[in-house]
Symmetry: C2
Subunit: 137 residues, 2 copies
Amino acid sequence: MSARTEQLLKEKKIKITANRILILELLLNSSHSLSIADIEEDLPWADRATIFRTLKTFEDNALLHAIKDNEKSVKYAVCSDACQVDHHKIHPHFHCDVCGNTFCLSEYNFQLPQLPDNYTANKYSLIINGICSNCQK
Amino acid sequence: MSARTEQLLKEKKIKITANRILILELLLNSSHSLSIADIEEDLPWADRATIFRTLKTFEDNALLHAIKDNEKSVKYAVCSDACQVDHHKIHPHFHCDVCGNTFCLSEYNFQLPQLPDNYTANKYSLIINGICSNCQK
DNA sequence: CTCAAGTTTGCAATTAAATTGCATCCACAT
DNA sequence: ATGTGGATGCAATTTAATTGCAAACTTGAG
Ligand SMILES: [Mn+2]
Ligand SMILES: [Mn+2]
Ligand SMILES: [Zn+2]
Ligand SMILES: [Zn+2]
């Protein structure tokens, strides 16, 4: 297990198990967010329910966040530090219509819009569809 | 059938049927977006599959748009004219965490963020969670 | 080191929404 | 008025998410 993985789990007091190590490292090493099915594919011996509950545990402990990018299934990405700061406020993510990958634009800030009168905002979720740099012709 | 309903359907060359009239009027008269289940509840004699295909037809003809507000089911709202202009670009919607309703903020404009190099945007979907004016204490 | 207590896991089953096949029915252009 | 392509109802299927439960783990106290 990498030092980073161990640190993240201990920091959040999450019990260290084989499943959690491998799922977390998979997410840490991925350039884009992953669905439960993606993880199942990469860890064929792992059980779907276990992956589901592992991700839920990570999410509950703010180790990652769930991204609903308008595709069929939910994707997950590890929170970068920058992302974690406003973990429950701003979530800009980019979905590439060519490769189908979803990227977390955690560094990326956008101007918060002014809401109509008497509306209070708790959280913003922004999904941008388009073409990523890898797929640019 | 209201004049507005008739006009919308004829304009888009959608065959006029009892189902379509009632579903469209339901959406037109609703202050917030509706799920298939919501429509089923309001039109108990209507078939789920028919509602589904009716909404799909409306969506294909840009009469309404689908909203994925991070709840379990997709919601639908009729496009206002203002909304239609940028129908495929900007979709700000507000989900109230108290009443659970989702509102189309079609008039509402926000500053488009600058994307990282080599990223091209086709569409923005913004979901804002919070408390709506009706639910404000 | 050993063990108990509480967690996590695997497997199977269930939920819930979206989606489809197909035979029949209907809107509407001619 | 009528024929035809599209719309509908009903039942079945798909697919992802979610849960129940007993067995297998992790960890810290002794
Ligand atoms: Mn993020
Ligand atoms: Mn809209
Ligand atoms: Zn791409
Ligand atoms: Zn409300």
